[in-house]
Symmetry: D2
Subunit: 341 residues, 4 copies
């Protein structure tokens, strides 16, 4: 068999582990040939690739980033994207293509699959918001980084007697906020799924101070917003360079809470540090299993599918299903984390 | 409601997180009273306990060990163990007891439950071998510690051009060996579920050297054994103090492989470092959820049950079922990790 | 002997290690009595303190923050500050006071010392800018946290093909930027000691892209500024809550570099995470030695002095000397780190 | 200039950082050419090398091990070793050789230097026992790994109510034991420089139990021995494969202390994990500075010298001086760490 693999979209710890696993399983166990496309779909559209043998994937299991490079280019960006992809697949004699990527990538994968290309997708997002799998790799690492930061921030918040508003990743869903907040014992967790009421939040944090505590940690997902009418909230203010300069929810919440509580409050934005670097053991195992099962699916001819974790099993799920909805934090999970201040 | 909680058996990262979660959920959300028994079942048998309020569990979420102490005492060790437990439960007016422990603890819990006591168990083992739950807390931390050690050992094995035989925990099951070995890219993984053939193992490692590689890492669970007749294997040799001095499988494998391969081989025994210290974010979340749901089960009157993770849900499972069999590494999972040398 | 200890100023990993060491050395080895003042100088000015015995300092060696609390109150803030301090020292029968703090604290310590109080100072700053000691505790931890973040950010910068401008602590000196930048292999390091020329910096980063590299990491100390006239630079813009909203040098540099280079550039502000949490082994050893030697100095009657590291020795240095100048990054050290792009 | 670099002896975190720094400084700043010999002195003796340009050292700063390989071969092992080295140096047109290694390597370097070869040595040992430098790179990483292990072991010792005897590296000197023991708050530290009296040690640990504590941690350097006549002590017992099977001081101490104290005691041998893997920020900075200054010394024609840290400066020290004596733990440093039980 001849298999093409590519990584598309933002950085995510575990991408290299998937690539390595695909190569090991395919080359060693099946005697396949594997090529890696450069810079995501761009490589497929331009037939820009290299051969991947065992040496090519030596020592990459624990390394962040992706040896294949990535981009946000999608086949649908070109008028003839699907046709070009089909042409290169034919020319290169590919029996299977394994794209590793997030929501956008999987939609593109589905498009190509519907156009008849032999696709087995591997889901990737640190945000953990892909509905068809219990967990995606990268999420555990992101939560671990955020939790370690929160552990450190606690002693500083305490020493400085402050409220720290810590912004973690999650534009559409609050999974990282929920898990890191639970893991670190945050005193409030604010997620996009549940617009916050600034009065309630102020009361919640205020109760903690009334009870004699001298600091508080609030974890907020970057995509969180106030309930309509709850407080003035700016979005999208640009600086002279065209960047958003008003840093978003943590900064605004911090100003608002400081004023309402009469306590020093400061925003901390964790940022990109959550999405790079060496993956946790959990993510390496999950990524390795995804790669292994993607190759198996290809050999079984199960195309148009996605690897997914269900319980402790890796199963195959139709791509079409996988991209329908976002997996959001359900009320029951949020209830478990409702916090004691 | 009045709830008693206790921790029993060996150290396991996340015990304090469960205790804290039980107290938070019960005291704050339900207005319950919680007491903690000292040193496991011993505390229940001797009515040795203290009150646990919010202050008592402040700052313990990320701390290893257990603030309540532990022991290996079981009610069945005493002729009147069950009666004493029953008596103290009545005297103390307890509506629920939440024992947190491993296989032995859960058997004791089942015994007391069958004797009519209101028990909600929380499973605990770094070995991950309790059948009724997908994962137990402590396991992820143990795997993380072992993986980090393996990451470090790789560069040393390479610089010294050696075979390193790394012994990880797992007397009866190979979960830690499997996951840490996959996560670190070990070149062979040896588990108790599958007695090893020394000829095969020698060949496997030997192939790696034939292919020009200069080192190898073998991960072996402490309970692994050679296939009968495969090689001479000592067990239970004691030194003058009555301790096992012949360190076990890694030491013996190391000697044997060195002789057979003609390459320097060394054993590394990771030992207790895998079972202590601060839990990973994953284990803190799981432990917190177990505590929360144990309190809920008590309030619903669901006794004789155990908290368990199934996929992403926490469910309740009969204690009787949970203690029947060990969860061993199935052939499919082992196959995924069959290694490239 | 009766010794009072206090911690003053911002959070710094290692404060608890000093407190513990003072108590161990004084109580166990000398049979002294130790009291700890609450919230820095405030505790001394208000005679607010508690007794510190071995139990009081149990388990705090590795913990961030300070069990005594801290504040930014200084004796000089009160008209009768020195007199109040003198009065409480007399009333409490103190033979020595060990304040642990940064520049401001040590100036206050010097003031009280000149007023005749028996002071032995212990220097503390994550910024490493106290001139009389080779290193201060807290610095190694801060550098470690920043380096780990930079390690992670590298793979993301590479995957996203961006310039990341990473702002680390250092209002007046560039020690954290210098060491973390060297440790992580940053492609440019910008320190307050050497105002940057935006043209030079653009050229430096630009050369990297010309050479075919696809990303760059620039580390910048928060106090860094452009050379006069080099670029437009805002300071002190406040939002509606009175907070600085224009995040400072990294944000502005990022905008400017993006525009000049035509490459995506993003700021990352590491913030408070650098100053809290568990100290590194290096900082724990240094902090422990400082505490030990402070007690010895007190017993030798060497007051008006500061503990300091010189090479591998702890020596005593006059407080008056210690507070005269900041230790800035010298040209030779900066030259060592001039970077290859 | 044409410079040859090599790494010799055991693994040590920071070797790659030195290699990278030599290449960066020499190639970029001086326009030199750099070659790297493979497998230590072996590469020089056999003219086995490769060119090192910027790409060759890309991404290695944080990686453990050495990209050049290492061995324990010394020029003095061959009758014509010095002559062969001289011949290859002439043939290759080398103006300087930078060997990076420990005591043995530096002795060989001195031998070649005295034979007229242009040598600039860089000291390397995780043991920190080279007398002419305040610190060697690798030591901080080893202490960090040992301290993290001790932090974890503490909670387990406490939960299991045991004495844990933790053996760390240090055949001849106790630096790792001293620093990790101080950093982790060990209850006794045993170093080779001071043979222990088993009665005293038993009393020390026993006092802790008498005072109501339920566990103890003893850190012992692998080279520690009992005072003569203090207790029976075996060395060098081999198993059937010729390996030392009686694991050494921790195992024997554990047996002895268990018997004398009547408390469970267990040995933990940290082993190779201390000498591999990614270096700490401290070690990366020190290694980078050593490489930089080695190139500078070569350009100044300062041969027969060694880079050394003195305070915060890198200085050059005669090789002949450097190899005369081991740097042992002095009584004053040991006194600082005398422990409270």
């Amino acid at each position: 068999m001849r298999i093409g693999v590519l990584t598309s979209g933002g950085d995510c710890p575990g991408l290299n582990a998937v690539i390595r696993s695909v190569v090991h399983r395919a080359v060693v166990d099946h005697g396949d040939e594997v090529i890696g496309f450069h810079d995501g779909w761009k490589g497929l559209l331009e037939a820009d690739y290299r051969k991947l043998d065992l040496d090519a994937v030596g020592g990459i299991l624990a390394r962040g980033g992706t040896i294949l490079g990535s981009s946000r280019v999608q086949p649908a960006h070109l008028r003839d994207g699907v046709e070009r992809a089909r042409g290169h697949v034919a020319d290169l004699g590919l029996d299977a293509i394994i794209p590793i990527g997030g929501e956008g990538t999987l939609k593109a994968a589905n498009l190509l699959s519907e156009a008849g290309l032999p696709i087995v997708g591997v889901p990737k997002t640190i945000d953990n918001d892909i509905a068809s799998t219990d967990v995606t790799f990268g999420f555990d690492t992101a939560v671990g980084v955020a939790t370690e930061a929160l552990d450190r921030l606690k002693t500083t918040a305490e020493s400085h007697q402050r409220v720290l508003i810590v912004e973690v990743m999650g534009r559409h869903t609050g999974w990282i906020a929920l898990h890191s907040g639970m893991a670190a014992g945050a005193h409030a967790i604010v997620v996009p799924e549940r617009p916050f009421d600034i009065d309630e939040l102020t009361e919640l944090v205020g109760k903690r101070f009334s009870a004699g505590k001298k600091f508080a940690i609030v974890v907020v997902a970057e995509g969180a917003k106030p309930r309509e009418g709850s407080m003035q909230f700016e979005q999208g203010v640009k600086d002279i360079y065209g960047h958003e300069r008003f840093a978003g929810v943590a900064t605004q919440l911090s100003g608002e809470l400081e004023q309402r509580l009469g306590k020093e409050a400061r925003p901390v934005i964790l940022g990109h540090v959550q999405r790079g670097g060496t993956p946790t053991a959990y993510d390496r195992v999950l990524a390795t299993r995804f790669g292994w099962h993607a190759v198996e699916a290809a050999h079984r001819g199960e195309f148009g599918m996605l690897t997914a974790l269900r319980g402790t099993d890796i199963v195959m799920v139709p791509l079409a299903e996988a991209v329908e909805t976002l997996k959001t934090v359900p009320a029951e999970r949020y209830a478990e984390a409702e916090c004691v201040l």
